[in-house]
């Protein structure tokens, strides 16, 4: 059967025959013309689709700082949101002058904008305590592009030139810039929002057959719950070991660190950086040599060039593995206890 089938050949595999060269060239021209036409048509069509509107500037953090007049601002992403209970922290520190900004999934670009557009204009001079994980401080483009850009827009009345410059691909990498231009000229990503419902509809057909009484929203929620971090396989330790941290000197200038430090210095806002303890550290996974080099270089930079205080919680044994919920988050039920323990063991941050 296979032999017979192979004899059938295929359109794409038919051996090129050599008829008249003029006719072959004409066919190639026709082929290229149609392919090009399709590309142009899709480009034109994608450009007619609306660009996602700019997210509205949200000045509520500024208002909060103005009203609380904090001595300390704790800033970070879910590493802060899942670790600190603001009310507990206030009572433990015996002051109302503390605010906790745990902006979910935020990264260094957002933290820079909070400093620039919320803390500086408030004319307060609180100590900014910035919590970060791993190499977040030197990964300016991570979770800041595409749909994630909306969270930057909420923190700035208009696109910030410094942020946009750092998010744009480096001129030193011409291919990255070319790809960026291509995406500007041919914004095919705008199609995805329109075409996503199609495969979803096919998926709904099958999942409805298996669970008829659930609404699409309930089905999606169930699937999301199923893939919670706690249900996933533990990270492959070998893969972790193979990871090489970058050289700090190579990544510091393109990051927002110099901007955060410069702005804080200019407006006399004291800075503290806290590298949070991760689940891996709590499980006893050692840091790799490249990681250790990166951390030491960063600590030196923060203390010497940035005049900031720096704390690495990697070895804080009181933050035991039992406290963790999903991934590197602290489980919700331990949030208050964690806040109290933090003040007890890391109290020097608040002096």
């Amino acid at each position: 059967m296979a032999q017979k089938d192979q004899e059938k050949g295929s359109l794409r595999d038919a051996a090129p025959s050599p008829p008249s060269r003029r006719a072959s060239t004409l066919r190639l021209g026709l082929f290229l013309g149609l392919a090009l036409l399709s590309l142009l048509a899709m480009t034109a069509l994608s450009r007619t689709l609306p660009v996602r509107g700019r997210a509205r500037f949200d000045s509520s953090l500024l208002a909060q700082i103005k009203s609380v007049r904090p001595a300390f601002v704790l800033l970070g992403n879910s590493m802060v949101g899942t670790r600190f209970d603001e009310a507990t922290l206030r009572s433990a520190l015996r002051t109302r002058r503390v605010v906790v900004f745990g902006i979910s999934a935020s990264k260094s670009a957002e933290w820079y904008l909070v400093l620039k557009n919320m803390i500086v204009p408030s004319k307060q001079h609180p100590r900014l305590v910035l919590f970060y994980r791993d190499e977040e401080l030197t990964q300016p483009r991570k979770h800041a592009l595409g749909a994630a850009h909306a969270s930057l827009e909420r923190l700035s009345p208009e696109d910030d030139p410094i942020v946009e410059k750092k998010l744009a691909p480096s001129l030193a990498k011409p291919m990255a810039r070319l790809a960026w231009y291509r995406d500007q000229v041919m914004p095919f990503q705008r199609f995805l929002a329109k075409t996503d419902p199609l495969p979803d509809a096919a998926a709904a057909l099958f999942s409805r057959a298996l669970w008829a009484d659930a609404t699409p929203r309930a089905r999606r929620a169930q699937i999301n719950d199923l893939f919670e971090l706690s249900n996933l396989r533990p990270a492959d330790a070998a893969q972790e070991r193979a990871y090489q941290s970058p050289r700090f000197a190579d990544v510091v200038d393109p990051s927002f660190l110099p901007d955060i430090c410069g702005l804080a210095k200019e407006h006399e806002i004291p800075l503290t950086f806290v590298k949070v303890r991760t689940r891996d550290a709590a499980s006893g996974v050692p840091e790799t040599p490249s990681e250790r080099r990166y951390i030491a270089d960063m600590a030196r930079y923060l203390r010497e060039s940035c005049s900031a205080e720096y704390y690495d919680m990697h070895d804080e044994a009181w933050e035991s593995i039992d406290l963790y919920g999903n991934g590197d988050h602290i489980a919700g039920r331990f949030k208050r206890a964690y806040t109290l323990s933090f003040v007890e063991h890391m109290g020097q941050i608040f002096h």
Binding site: M1, A2, D5, K8, G9, S10, L11, R12, D13, A14, A15, P16, P18, P19, A23, S24, T25, L26, R27, L28, L30, F31, G33, L34, A35, L37, S38, L39, M42, M175, L178, A179, R182, M186, F188, Q189, F191, T195, L198, P199, A202, A203, A204, L205, F206, S207, R208, A209, L210, W211, Q222, I223, D225, L226, F227, N231, L232, R233, P234, A242
Partner: protein, 468 residues
């Protein structure tokens, strides 16, 4: 450099523009330079290995002609050099880990040597291609070449250097040596293959990869999820690998080369033997010609033939990766072949009844999927857990998620099903070099381009076979 990158598109356009302006000898030099640039684009130091392998086999082959009495010794040298290189870079950690495990079992304390070995991309492919050159020279099927540029250009030919098809010197070297002229017909068919390959990679493989990766990231997936995940992987690996082969063959046609077909609708196979005549054809025929036949093939007794088959597939499994699950996958396919051969001898009529054909295809597809589960689950404990799962014990959420993913897999597989239908209805066989067919093929390409713009995955992944 990867095929679905802008870097490659720019490289190819510039390369072709210069390549077709050059005379034949200069074309070969430029092809070699371009191929080395392509391969060393991200990790230039990998070029040292490729160059060493080329110089070695070029010299061994020439030596075979000069010192016929030492032919065998030179072949052994070539085998040791190529397989030694492959063993060190691909299997060192595997051997060390297993030796340590065995030592621990025997209560012998050994410390692990700390060597951080990075697997050079494509080493499994080009070492096999290079070996085929020296083995064919040894067997007298090919004259050793004096022109180093020609041999090096054949071994480094960039369209197929990283993930095949694993070509034979007897097929490609004459094409390197022959003057090549731009053929618009070959270019058109090459472009069509490239567009189809890109579509399979960007739309089908990368989208279903998300499902397979999601399912196999769960620590305790249920029965339904495991098998939907396996089905997603089955679609992914075919779309991904055949896409690479199509783009490679299409690119080669733009350069004036004809590479061998690597996939021929493998999921329409009715028996394991047929599957291996349709799946990764260049590798299976390599193992057939250079391992199975030298072992004795089917010339000896039945038990001997079965042993040869089993050993060949065991080695083929091990070629795929330094992990026991690949060995298990190879052994499984070897056993399948033996069982089917026995059945064909015992009840040949079952395999001849025409109306049972579709049922045989379905059965074979299910057996292939069982193999893919072994291939995808690199952790043996997890694999054994998956294989022990029974239907009916899944939670409603897991069943519903399985249904959701199944819908997505079916949706993204529709173009592959259409391709299969066109193949079965012999539409491809009717293709002619006429204007109306060119119009049809151009329209198909236009549709595929539109499909890519509409449904590409915004989370791209590398070609699976890069890791082998």
């Amino acid at each position: 450099m990867i095929f679905h990158s802008l870097d490659f598109a720019v490289f190819l356009v510039v390369f072709l523009a210069i390549y077709w302006c050059l005379p034949h000898r200069a074309q070969n030099v430029f092809l070699l330079v371009g191929s080395y640039f392509f391969y060393g684009y991200i990790h230039p130091w990998f070029l040292i290995l490729l160059f060493a392998s080329t110089v070695g086999d070029y010299s061994f082959a020439l030596g075979m002609r000069r010192f016929p009495a030492r032919k065998r010794l030179l072949l052994v040298c070539s085998l040791c050099a190529n397989l030694g290189l492959l063993s060190f870079f691909k299997y060192f950690n595997f051997f060390v880990d297993n030796a340590l495990l065995l030592a621990a079992h025997l209560h012998v304390a050994l410390s692990r040597p700390t060597l951080n070995i990075v697997l050079p991309v494509g080493i499994s492919f080009y070492t096999f291609q290079s070996l085929s050159y020296t083995i064919d020279v040894y067997r007298g099927r090919l004259e050793p070449r004096r022109n180093f540029i020609d041999v090096a250009a054949f071994l480094a030919l960039f369209p197929q250097l990283v993930a095949g098809p694993i070509e034979r010197a007897t097929h490609v070297l004459p094409q390197v040596e022959r003057p090549r002229h731009f053929d618009p017909e070959a270019a058109r068919l090459g472009l069509l293959l490239m567009v189809w390959g890109l579509f399979k990679k960007l739309v089908i493989a990368d989208n279903v990869a998300l499902i397979a990766n999601k399912v196999f990231s769960l620590s305790l997936p249920g029965f339904a999820l495991v098998w939907v995940g396996t089905l997603a992987f089955c679609v992914q690996i075919y779309a991904d690998f055949s896409a690479y082969s199509d783009i490679a063959r299409g690119t080669a046609r733009l350069l004036g080369f004809e590479l061998m077909k690597n996939f021929d609708h493998p999921y329409l196979s009715q028996t394991p033997a047929e599957f291996w005549r349709r799946w990764h054809i260049s590798l299976s025929s390599w193992f057939r010609d250079y391992v199975y036949i030298p072992l004795g093939g089917n010339r000896g007794s039945k038990p001997r033939m079965y042993f040869n088959l089993f050993l060949t597939f065991l080695l083929s499994g091990f070629w795929h990766g330094a992990s026991w699950n690949y060995v298990m996958w190879g052994a499984y396919h070897g056993l399948l072949l033996i069982v089917f051969r026995t059945l064909e001898d015992w009840a040949p009529s079952v395999f001849r009844i025409r109306w049972l054909g579709p049922l045989r295809v379905v059965c074979m597809f299910a057996l292939v999927n069982l193999g893919w589960l072994m291939f995808r689950e690199t952790d043996i404990h997890q694999l054994l857990r998956d294989l022990a799962l029974r239907p009916g014990a899944d939670s409603p959420a897991q069943r519903m998620a399985a249904g959701h993913f199944l819908g997505l897999v079916v949706f993204y597989s529709l173009p592959l099903l259409a391709d299969g239908a066109l193949y079965l209805t012999r539409t491809y066989a009717r293709a002619r070099a006429t204007l109306s067919w060119a119009l049809l093929e151009g329209s198909a390409a236009a549709l595929l381009i539109a499909g890519m713009a509409l449904f590409y995955s915004d989370i791209p992944s590398d070609f699976i076979y890069f890791q082998f």
